[in-house]
């Protein structure tokens, strides 16, 4: 009997070893492959570089449209499908599908993430203040920004308001310039509540409270009143915010490019087009954000790269995200596609943009300079799970105020009701 027990043990050990080898073999046979999607085709370079540095891995890089990020991705994730990593524009909205990569990072890497991407990690947790999960990174952010047509100012012999000037100062200056130069529109703001939010935050609106509910406060009312006032007195054109209905997003960057507007409040993503289309036609610059009573706020935005829970290769996902977060890779990405850096170190030391014109570089520097001033409540709003519902409601209701269907108080009450309904619908 004693003779047989060692034999049994050996047999068992052999079977175990065989099984283990087999499963390792199978795991290796399912080659390390993940799918990554992004809206810019030039990001493929990062995937190529990763595959070169990590032979044996495969990154399936796909280009998708911004629209599908907003609409198709949530539907895919809801049915347990979708890519392993994706760019997401709605930082907090999909957080319940994100993969926490902290367990797969070393302590040093985790600390690096916290240091560089601090303000963004919080909104990605979707309002869960107790979590310390690391869901991904953002190499670049976009900021709302004020574009000014310097040539028109010069022709009108009007001085540019200095940094720290208020929205009212800029409105007055723009009106003067437009009158003198027969320009169609003094001021214009994209028909997007994301832009309006910058204005609202500058006047002290809180927008979302700690419990994740929409807030209607004096700051918001003041901002709306000012906004409506500018439409009534002709500073802003009625046929943008006032003409279309519903949640239609309209950006009028083309108006600025064609020299039809003096002061355009849009976003840093338009810089990419400035060189191509405006060229030397006129002199322009990005100015510091106009101020309200509570600060000179611009809303951040842009895409973060996150991994999803349903992935079969969490470790590889973590490695790819850490790769993207490496300083040299972030710098390369920024140079490829003129964007504002998000990582704290690069914000401090400044990024290089060898492929862009002098003016674009100056604009990016102006944006980067404003990065540290973006307050936490802006990030909190951006990462709020129901930000999209709030933006849709604001856009619709503000248009209704402009067409005299509702007054300000009723409209804001409706915004709150719309958002509350959306929260309720999602709470089941």
């Amino acid at each position: 009997m004693t003779g047989r027990r060692p034999a049994c043990a050996i047999a068992r050990a052999c079977r175990f070893a065989l099984g283990l080898t087999a499963s390792i073999a199978i795991a290796v046979a399912h080659a390390q492959e993940i799918s990554v999607q992004h809206i810019h085709a030039d990001e493929r370079a990062a995937a190529v570089k990763f595959m070169k540095e990590n032979p044996g891995t495969k990154i399936d890089f796909r280009v998708v449209s911004f629209q599908s990020l907003l609409e198709s991705l949530p539907v895919q994730l809801a049915s347990g499908e979708g890519p392993d990593i994706s760019m997401v524009a709605d930082w907090g909205g999909l957080s319940r599908y994100y993969l926490d990569i902290r367990p797969y990072l070393t302590a040093a890497q985790a600390a690096y993430f916290e240091r560089e991407f601090g303000p963004i990690l919080a909104p990605m947790r979707g309002g869960d203040t107790k979590s310390n999960a690391i869901y991904g990174m953002a190499g670049a952010v976009t900021l709302n920004g004020a574009f000014v047509n310097l040539t028109l100012f010069r022709q009108a012999h009007v001085e540019l308001p200095p940094p720290g000037a208020t929205w009212d100062d800029w409105a007055a200056a723009a009106r003067k310039v437009a009158k003198a130069t027969h320009t169609e529109m003094p001021m214009e703001m994209d028909r997007s509540a994301h832009r309006f939010a910058s204005l609202a935050l500058s006047y002290g609106a809180q927008l979302v409270d700690d419990q994740g509910r929409f807030v209607v406060d004096e700051g918001l009312k003041t901002a709306v009143a000012k906004f409506v006032g500018w439409h009534r007195d002709g500073t802003m054109p009625m046929d943008l915010w006032g003409a279309v209905g519903g949640t239609t997003h309209l950006d009028r960057f083309s108006d600025f490019m064609n020299g039809k507007v003096v002061f355009y409040f849009g976003g840093s993503w338009s810089l990419f087009l400035m060189d191509k289309t405006v060229g030397d036609n006129f002199d322009w610059k990005v100015v510091d954000a106009p101020c309200g009573t509570a600060g000179c706020v611009v809303m951040p935005g842009g895409g973060a790269m996150v991994g999803f829970r349903h992935t079969k290769h969490p470790r590889l996902v973590a490695r790819y995200l850490a790769f993207l977060a490496r300083e040299d890779n972030m710098r390369e990405a920024l140079a490829r596609h003129a964007n504002i850096p998000a990582a704290a170190t690069i914000v401090k030391t400044g990024a290089q943009y060898p492929n862009d014109s002098e003016r674009v570089r100056a604009a990016l520097a102006a944006f980067t300079r404003q990065m540290p001033n973006v307050p936490e409540r802006a990030y909190a709003f951006q990462g709020w799970r129901f930000q999209r519902a709030a933006l849709n409601a604001l856009t619709t209701r503000i248009s209704q105020i402009l067409t005299n269907e509702l007054d300000i108080d009723t409209a804001l009450a409706f915004v709150k009701k719309d958002v509350d309904l959306a929260i309720r619908a999602s709470s089941y």
Binding site: G242, A389, N404, A422, S426
Partner: protein, 306 residues
């Protein structure tokens, strides 16, 4: 009928019917039941298994109003604005459209040259897709468009045709009439042509004036066709969406927002999607259409046919 294996023959017609019945079962009849299911469940999930039962909550949210005449007091004010818009839009649009269609049909029915050409021209916009129709008129009506250009040449000021709520509404009526009038003209024309000529001859004998001919002879004989046209026009008008969606997007504000647009917005355009409310609104719309059609059928049968 006739010789052959009776047993086999009995289910052959069902074989022929099968594909059609399958499609309508899945895509027309089943959806009605599913709509009911959606309307009594909540949450923003698409899959029925993940939707909890909420009873009539969707309906009560939708129908809750402080004062039914003032949408701003309603919980879902956009729905009631759409209903309000429909209450004005449908009668106006149908009346204008049938009016013009009738006049055109009468004109085409006369002894004119190149009737085929004229008939084709009036019918032409029906062939255009709603998107093309809307784009065409957008191009003409925008601030720098042709209409303002013509007005400018005549010395008038530019007018904001589509960015003023009541003007946008009137143009919505105009554009939808423009796009669909030809269809009803053709039907009315056929109806006119089916009136026997000798009745007109008799009227001529009696030296009846054109107006009397029209009211005493033409209209009564046209009644059944007019009724069909009326029902078709109302059903289509209540469901107006495509042209107006592209033309004004429901704006300015909510001046041209229609019911189907509300359903589309609630169920598909906003995030998170509220399928329950959209389904509830759809059921209300469907019920209204059904009641309307049934009433019309009853009235037409009750009124006696010519």
């Amino acid at each position: 009928m006739g010789s052959g294996d009776r047993g086999v023959r009995r289910w052959v017609p069902w074989l022929f019917l099968a594909p059609n019945l399958a499609i309508i079962a899945v895509f027309s009849l089943l959806p009605v039941l599913v709509n009911v299911m959606y309307s009594v469940t909540g949450s923003d999930n698409l899959w029925p298994s993940e939707r909890p039962f909420v009873g009539f909550e969707n309906f009560s949210t939708l129908l809750e109003c402080g004062n039914y005449f003032d949408p701003a007091t309603c919980s879902r004010d956009l729905f009631w604005r759409a209903v309000g818009n429909a209450i004005v839009f449908v009668p106006t649009q149908v009346a204008v459209m049938i009016g013009f269609a009738l006049v055109t049909a009468i004109a085409l029915n006369r002894n004119i040259r190149a009737r085929g050409f004229f008939r084709g021209v009036f019918f032409f916009p029906v062939m255009l897709s709603p998107v093309v129709v809307a784009m065409t008129w957008l191009w003409v009506l925008q601030r720098d468009g042709a209409l303002n250009g013509v007005l400018g040449a005549l010395g008038f000021e530019q007018v904001t045709w589509l960015t003023d709520p009541s003007r946008a509404f009137r143009w919505s009526v105009f554009v939808t009439v423009w796009a669909h009038m030809g269809f009803y003209t053709i039907i009315l024309l056929a109806g006119l042509q089916s009136i026997p000529a000798d009745i007109y001859e008799a009227a001529k004998m009696d030296r009846a004036s054109p107006w009397r001919v029209f009211t005493r002879i033409t209209l009564p004989m046209l009644k059944p066709v007019l009724l069909v046209v009326f029902i078709l026009a109302v059903i289509r008008s209540v469901q107006t969406f495509d042209e107006i969606y592209v033309l004004t997007g429901g704006g300015p504000g909510t001046a041209t927002k229609m019911i189907v647009h509300y359903i589309f917005d609630t169920g598909f355009a906003v995030m998170p999607r509220n399928y329950g409310l959209a389904a509830a609104a759809s059921l209300i719309l469907g019920a209204a259409l059904f009641v309307f059609t049934a009433l019309q059928m009853r009235l037409s049968r009750g009124g006696g046919n010519a």
